[in-house]
């Protein structure tokens, strides 16, 4: 299954400065859900300082997760089952003015 990942608003820094991260997830019998994706990202993309990205089994406060340009709260958050070609974006809230 392939799914482009993006990090904006500073979150790209967590991905070694790379904004677009097309990934192909290993196939498994059950469909991938967001909870599993977060674990996979932490293991495969964020080797250093994962605490800047995750807290418990979700993202840390101040990061908003978007699935296909919608707040993931509208999609079931951690339980959302990923479809092929889904676009997942992690954004950090900005505070500067």
């Amino acid at each position: 299954m392939s799914s482009p990942l993006r990090g904006d608003g500073g979150a790209e820094l967590l991905f070694n400065g790379v904004k677009k991260h097309p990934v192909t997830l290993p196939s498994q019998s059950e469909p991938w859900d967001m909870k599993q994706l977060l674990v996979w990202i932490q293991r495969n993309l964020l080797k250093e300082r994962p605490e800047l990205f995750v807290q418990g089994d979700s993202v840390r406060p101040g990061i908003l997760v978007l699935i296909n340009d919608a707040d993931w709260e509208l999609m079931g958050e951690l339980d959302y089952q990923l479809q092929d070609q889904d676009n997942v974006v992690f954004i950090s809230t900005l505070h500067g003015g």
Binding site: D8, G9, G10, E48, R49, L52, R60, P61, G62, I63, L64, L66, D69, A70, D71, E73, L74, I91, S92, T93, L94, H95, G96, G97
Partner: protein
């Protein structure tokens, strides 16, 4: 005789016209002086804003190009004159926002900022000029706006918004715009808007990105619905650390002006449950559908736990300014002053000076003979950088007699990152690199520029 009468009459008419012109000029001057702004240091009750019953000929001429829009029209313009808007923060967002709101004819503008104008503000805070350095930003912004449109009532507040004054202030305005630069203020403004039922047009910008949402508007979510828990303070980057291209908050502040004008004129905003994200690098706007108002929200939910304003600095674990926090991670023995380092330098004592700032900052300025390894490279144990460090330490060891531990002095911009680097280097010492004595230079290059070398650039 008749000719003389005619001539005198003509002369009289001329003088009368001249007098009328002078009277008009005097009235204008008096009006602008009466409207000339007085700085408020605390929140005071305001007289109710009446607005205009009808447009004068001068109004019609001034606003003609927007009156022609069916979306605005005469009624929209009259609505603007009846609306008061509070702008929290007269910086990169607040300046263009205040400018366009005043130009468009909003009735009353509250301009709040606790800070004074500095040279490093001018690239983005475009209402302030060189001559305004040191002046209260609220006053500088208000005078600039008043020059643009003297018919707009401007109230500059030189104060820090706090749980004690926020409700009294916000209750007096119809629409609030959050142009602030720190997390505690964003929660404070949100809660005060929810508790007083005001729409909140909120924007933010950093580096090459901007975000905008209208909160607490037509049953939509509030800031807390989206962000129930504040971010850990160490993950928050401000403009003085992360940098920002001036035009980016400029674009977002203009976007805020657009949404405020639509709400004030009666057209309404479509950003109530929507996040606008601006990526300046790709020149791209994205519209994100947001969650609705949350029943579980602590302030706007069904059983709110926040029913009055609380201590937001404690809630967020950070101060309500964008000034840099001063970390204190090390003991006294692990730190030296810039004066100490100056005498080490002058005595040519063998040592390694390690500059842990990112390369982009080292390009701005650095001390000669410093070795640059960014903090992030130390944290990630970047192989080529560790190799470089090992080489320099062993060179130093050869240079020094006996089996002493070579001294390493760590410097950065303000003395925060350098302390983190000292902690990392102490862990590495004796394992990943030869044993070293690591010390932090207190206050970093900023302290160096202030205390040792006044010609050294500050940024």
């Amino acid at each position: 005789m008749a000719q003389e009468v005619c001539g005198l009459k003509a002369q009289l008419r001329e003088k009368e016209e001249e007098i009328a012109a002078l009277k008009n000029k005097l009235a204008q001057l008096e009006k602008s002086r009466a409207a000339s702004v007085e700085l408020h240091h605390r929140v005071m009750p305001l007289t109710p804003l009446t607005g205009k019953a009808a447009l004068s000929n001068e109004d019609i001429m001034r606003y003609s190009r927007q009156l022609l829009l069916p979306e605005l029209g005469v009624q929209g313009q009259l609505n603007l004159s009846k609306t008061s808007v509070l702008i929290v923060g007269c910086g990169g967002l607040g300046c263009p926002l205040a400018q366009y709101l005043a130009a468009a004819g909003v009735g009353r503008l509250g301009l709040l900022d606790y800070d004074e104008v500095e040279l490093s503000n001018l690239h983005r805070q475009v209402l302030h000029g060189e001559e305004n350095q040191g002046q209260a930003k609220a006053l500088s912004a208000a005078s600039a706006v008043q020059r643009l449109n003297s018919t707009v009532e401007c109230i500059p507040y030189h104060l820090q918004l706090s749980p004690e004054n926020a409700l009294q202030l916000i209750q007096q305005y119809d629409i609030v715009a959050d142009c602030s630069d720190n997390v505690p203020t964003r929660y404070l403004v949100n809660d005060a808007c929810v508790l007083s039922g005001k729409p909140l047009v909120s924007a933010s910008a950093l580096r090459m990105e901007g975000q905008l949402t209208v909160y607490n508007y037509h049953g939509g979510p509030c800031y807390r619905c989206l962000y129930p828990v504040p971010p850990p303070p160490e993950t928050v980057t401000n403009c003085s650390d992360g940098g920002v291209l001036g035009v980016v908050p400029g674009i977002m502040g203009c976007f805020q002006a657009l949404e405020v004008l639509k709400i004030a004129s009666g057209q309404g905003s479509s950003c109530g449950q929507q996040l606008v994200m601006f990526d300046a690098q790709d020149a791209r706007f994205r519209l994100i559908r947001l969650r609705p108002k949350q029943a579980s929200c602590a302030v706007c939910g069904e059983n709110p736990s926040v029913t009055r304003l609380v201590d937001y600095e404690a809630f967020c674990g950070s101060a309500a300014t964008d000034k840099c926090r001063k970390l204190n991670l090390l003991s006294k023995e692990q730190r030296i002053t810039v004066q100490d380092y100056k005498s080490i330098m002058d005595s040519a004592e063998p040592h390694l000076l390690l500059d842990v700032r990112p390369l982009v900052e080292v390009d701005i300025c650095h001390l000669p003979s410093s070795l640059n390894i960014p903090l992030s490279s130390l944290e990630e144990r970047k192989r080529e950088h560790l190799q470089l460090l090992r080489e320099r330490v062993s060179q130093l060891k050869h240079q020094m007699a006996g089996d002493c531990q070579p001294p390493v002095y760590v410097i950065c911009k303000q003395g925060n990152d350098s302390q983190k680097a000292v902690q990392i280097l102490e862990k590495m010492s004796g394992s990943e690199v030869d044993r070293v004595t690591v010390k932090d230079i207190c206050g970093g290059l900023t302290a160096w520029a202030r205390g040792i070398d006044r010609t050294f650039p500050q940024y």
